[in-house]
């Protein structure tokens, strides 16, 4: 096999404009948004425009035993799109049409390259909403977010991507095209293959069409910012709000390190002497919103917090400014930002926050923690410099401990970023060796040659026969 030969074959199928081999371009596909991972060059980049072309590319890849890495906007945070073993990066950005908005069934059918925000802009005039709202929603694709099962700020009330995917068209590793699911609200036909492919991180098939559920957009909302003198009071408020039968759309927390950083950067008048703040938003029918907001205020006051409600859209923007500034402010402090998403049952939020602070102290690292307190999904953010080997060693130990702690508290490795390369080695800690073997069996059943996104999530099978061109390409640079 030579790459030139593969190039000729693929060019014959896709046309010259859809096959890229220039090193200057391929370098830009050797990484994604994940910090602290080595870069790997692909051999080719292809940009198919139809499901049939995707299927043809898979057949060519099979013939030459070249790995394929499906890719949307490359904004994932688990190394999900890094071409670890060389081969073909398959960008789905040119398949970017919204095929249908069905107002009778409250569904939308989209190609994988549609940007999440674009879908929401298209359904908003109909008074509809596609709720999953990852931080990258202005850039991330629907295909990528289905493959990663991304979450977002509204997860507490509205769930994550998988709660909205009703049907998928998938190109299998064999090159065959299959469709699962449909527009019916009820569907118990056979295994739930839609859920299997959702969050499969490109390891089981290539998603080429997506049918999602839409909901009526909430009519009203109220936003509140609560300040606490200690972490435990903030933690008690989180559980207290849920106990009072209120499920806010958003319940975000920021610790003191994050607040100080945000305040230094943005000067928005945050109480830096406070130990934690909560940003709570309730939404729905106006009468319900009023009642729920009153309940939230009552719980916060009872737990010794002070609460400020937004009286207008401008005030809401001001309250949100702090949360929006969290990552940018942290990211400006040091060159490298390691953002994790270990998640615990929300009753354990306080313990988790305190444990992260302790881990930071022990390893002499700056860790700012913010995140989706209401659903237990925290973002401990380690500020470091990937060029400092000694410090990176401490970072890796701290990350290990964060995951161990989350699991010990009954939590999980990843709330919304996925496993990818970054967390694959921790899988046995949560699933056990037997659990990981189940994943491997599923992987082998659907992708026996290990062509699809090798080295992500599922450990490489011992009988792998894929052409690993990764090391050769790395050597060239």
């Amino acid at each position: 096999m030579s790459i030139a030969e593969v190039n000729r074959t693929l060019t014959g199928i896709l046309g010259k404009e859809n096959v890229v081999t220039a090193q200057e371009d391929l370098i830009c596909y050797s990484f994604d948004a994940t910090a602290g991972l080595p870069e790997h060059l692909p051999d080719l980049l292809v940009t198919p425009t139809s499901t049939e072309q995707v299927a043809e590319i898979v057949k060519v890849a099979r013939r030459y035993k070249l790995p394929i890495y499906p890719r949307g906007s490359g904004t994932n945070l688990s190394g999900g799109t890094v071409p670890l073993k060389g081969g073909i990066v398959l960008s789905l950005l040119k398949m970017n049409k919204i095929l249908e908005i069905d107002r009778d069934n409250l569904t939308a059918t989209v190609q994988p390259g549609v940007i999440i925000q674009t879908l929401n802009n298209a359904v908003a005039p109909h008074g509809l909403l596609y709720p999953p709202d990852p931080g990258s929603m202005a850039t991330a694709t629907m295909g990528g977010s289905v493959a990663e099962c991304s979450g977002g700020l509204r997860g507490l009330k509205y769930g994550v991507t998988r709660d909205y995917v009703m049907g998928l068209e998938v190109v299998l590793a064999s090159g065959e095209i299959v469709r699962f699911g449909g527009k019916t609200v009820k569907n118990v036909t056979a295994y739930d293959m839609v859920r299997l492919f959702t969050g499969s991180e490109g390891t089981l098939g290539i998603i080429t069409e997506i049918l999602v559920r839409l909901i009526p957009a909430p009519e009203a909302r109220e936003t509140m910012l609560a300040t606490f003198g200690d972490l435990a009071s903030a933690g008690r408020s989180i559980t207290g709000i849920i106990q009072s039968k209120v499920i806010p759309a958003t319940m975000e927390i920021m610790d003191r390190v994050t607040m100080e950083t945000v305040e230094n950067y943005a000067r928005i008048g945050l109480p830096t002497e406070a130990e934690a703040i909560l940003l709570v938003e309730v939404d729905g029918i106006p009468e319900v919103v009023r009642r729920e907001a009153a309940a939230v205020r009552e719980v916060i006051n009872r737990n010794g917090g002070t609460v400020k409600s937004a009286a207008s859209e401008e005030e809401r923007d001001q309250l949100w400014a702090a949360r929006r500034a969290a990552l940018p402010a942290l990211a400006r402090k040091r060159p490298t930002t390691i953002l994790e998403d270990a998640t615990v049952p929300r009753s354990k939020i306080t313990e988790m926050l305190l444990a992260i602070q302790e881990i930071g102290r022990r390893h002499n690292l700056t860790i700012g923690t913010f995140g989706h307190a209401g659903d237990g999904n925290l973002h401990p953010t380690i500020l470091t410099d990937s060029r400092d080997e000694e410090e990176m060693e401490r970072v890796h130990r701290a990350v290990d401990e964060i995951f161990k702690t989350a699991l010990a508290l009954g939590g999980t490795l990843s709330g919304e970023h996925g496993i990818g390369m970054a967390k694959a080695r921790y899988l046995p800690w949560e699933l056990g060796d037997q659990g990981v073997q189940v994943l491997q069996k599923i992987k082998e059943a659907l992708d026996p040659e290990g062509l699809l996104n090798p080295g992500k999530m599922v450990p490489l099978c011992p009988n792998i026969r894929v052409n690993d061109t990764g090391s050769r390409r790395e050597g060239r640079l």
Binding site: D25, I27, C28, D32, A35, T139, L327, P328, P335, R387
Partner: protein
């Protein structure tokens, strides 16, 4: 220490967290969908160049070319100085591989004012030889000339703006006096803009001096990484304008304004005898909209009705570059009789981007199409803008698509109202 040198930018390059937020705002990426045309990918390329892992190739040099519209800077959560990294990367490419022929030609012409003058005047007189009239009143090339045959250019002015003006236009009992840096396009293509700036300033009670020895500000060279020549031009302008007894320097173009307010300071920051003068010149340079709104405000009582439906296109270098975003809108808001309809995306690049428009005509025009659709959606008769390069681009699109709309510089609108 050279400000535009990759070797001093290692930390800045490292500070890109690769989140990809730049994808959402990059007009070039929106057309190509290629990671090698957006900041995140290109910063990775710059890192390889810095580390010596990538050397000049024509393809690599092209990968550092862009609109230089700063939309990525504005979207970057980490505050990476992306424009500076790109300019430094372009400078590295020019050092290693030399500037391409077209750009070398441009550099020579822009550096040499006599040659530039001769070139434009010859072109203005000989235009019938090379261009044929377009139905819009513009000109379209007869021969390729290195230009796309679909293009429509505004007719060059047979007499340059500066030739048609006295060097000093004083008003009795002046509140102050300013030097007007005209910029090439107001001088050669849109003398009406130049005249409007002088009229408006005079109406504000400000005397205007137009130094005859001024030349191109050098931005097209600096933006293309031709730093040595850009630095020579910076020195020449710092000498010229620092030597004048004026209260301020006024520009009518965001790109020229950035040269005076930012690039000269950066290019000359280590040059003995120039660094301080460049900073002082920067501190007293203003865009015309900013000057007549905040520094010597125009008299609202003098404004006469202008009945027209207008919209406003914000030039990248004026808005994101110089931060002059409110003032043009306040001027539009002050003129009685105007019906102002904002664009959906007023600060989205029009695609001209100076030389980018010559080297990447198709992409440039595709970017323009979004702007034209936005303009058409407002139903405005005229587009107000603060940059003659944007104006050229908008007029070309309006002519090619037969939209029949006018484009006016903010100063021209204000001059109409002050008549």
């Amino acid at each position: 220490m050279n400000y535009y040198d990759l070797s001093v930018l290692a930390d800045e390059i490292e500070s890109c967290m690769r989140c990809g937020n730049c994808q959402a705002t990059c007009p070039y990426y929106q057309e190509t969908g290629s990671e090698s045309s957006v900041a995140r990918g290109r910063i990775a390329l710059a890192k390889y160049v810095l580390q010596g892992k990538l050397k000049y190739t024509p393809v690599l040099a092209e990968r550092f070319e862009c609109l230089t519209c700063y939309a990525c800077n504005a979207a970057c959560p980490c505050g990476v100085p992306i424009d500076r990294i790109f300019l430094a990367a372009r400078a590295a490419m020019v050092r290693e591989g030399g500037a391409p022929f077209l750009k070398k030609l441009m550099a020579t012409a822009l550096k040499n004012q006599g040659l530039l003058d001769l070139g434009f005047k010859t072109a203005a007189r000989a235009k019938g030889l090379f261009f044929k009239p377009h139905s819009s009143g513009g000109l379209t090339p007869r021969f390729p000339l290195g230009l796309d045959l679909r293009r429509v250019f505004p007719p060059l002015s047979p007499q340059t703006f500066r030739d048609g003006m006295k060097e000093a236009m004083t008003v009795p009992g002046a509140k102050g006096n300013v030097a007007f840096f005209t910029g090439c396009l107001a001088n050669y293509v849109y003398p009406s803009t130049g005249r409007a700036v002088v009229e408006v300033l005079n109406k504000c009670g400000v005397s205007v001096l137009i130094p005859g020895e001024q030349h191109c500000c050098g931005a097209p060279l600096a933006i293309n990484g031709i730093m040595e020549t850009a630095e020579q031009m910076a020195r020449s302008h710092v000498d010229l304008f620092s030597g004048l007894e004026v209260d301020a320097v006024v520009v009518a173009c965001g790109t020229c304004g950035e040269s005076f307010k930012k690039k000269y300071v950066n290019l000359l920051n280590g040059t003995p005898g120039y660094a301080k003068k460049a900073r002082e010149l920067a501190a007293k340079t203003y865009d015309i909209a900013e000057f007549v709104r905040n520094i010597v405000p125009f008299d609202r009582q003098l404004l006469k009705e202008v009945v027209m439906k207008v919209t406003y296109h914000e030039p990248c270098h004026l808005g994101r570059g110089l931060g002059v975003t409110r003032e043009p809108l306040e001027i539009i808001g002050a003129v009685p009789g105007l019906d102002f309809v904002p664009l959906q995306k007023p600060d989205w690049c029009c695609g001209n981007a100076g030389t980018f428009n010559l080297t990447h005509y198709d992409v440039s025009y595709n970017i323009l199409k979004h702007k034209l659709a936005d303009i058409a959606g407002t139903g405005a008769e005229a587009v107000i803008t603060g940059c003659s390069a944007c104006r050229m681009q908008l007029e070309e699109g309006i002519a090619r698509e037969g939209l029949g709309k006018k484009v006016l510089h903010t100063a021209e609108l204000l001059a109409m109202s002050l008549k």
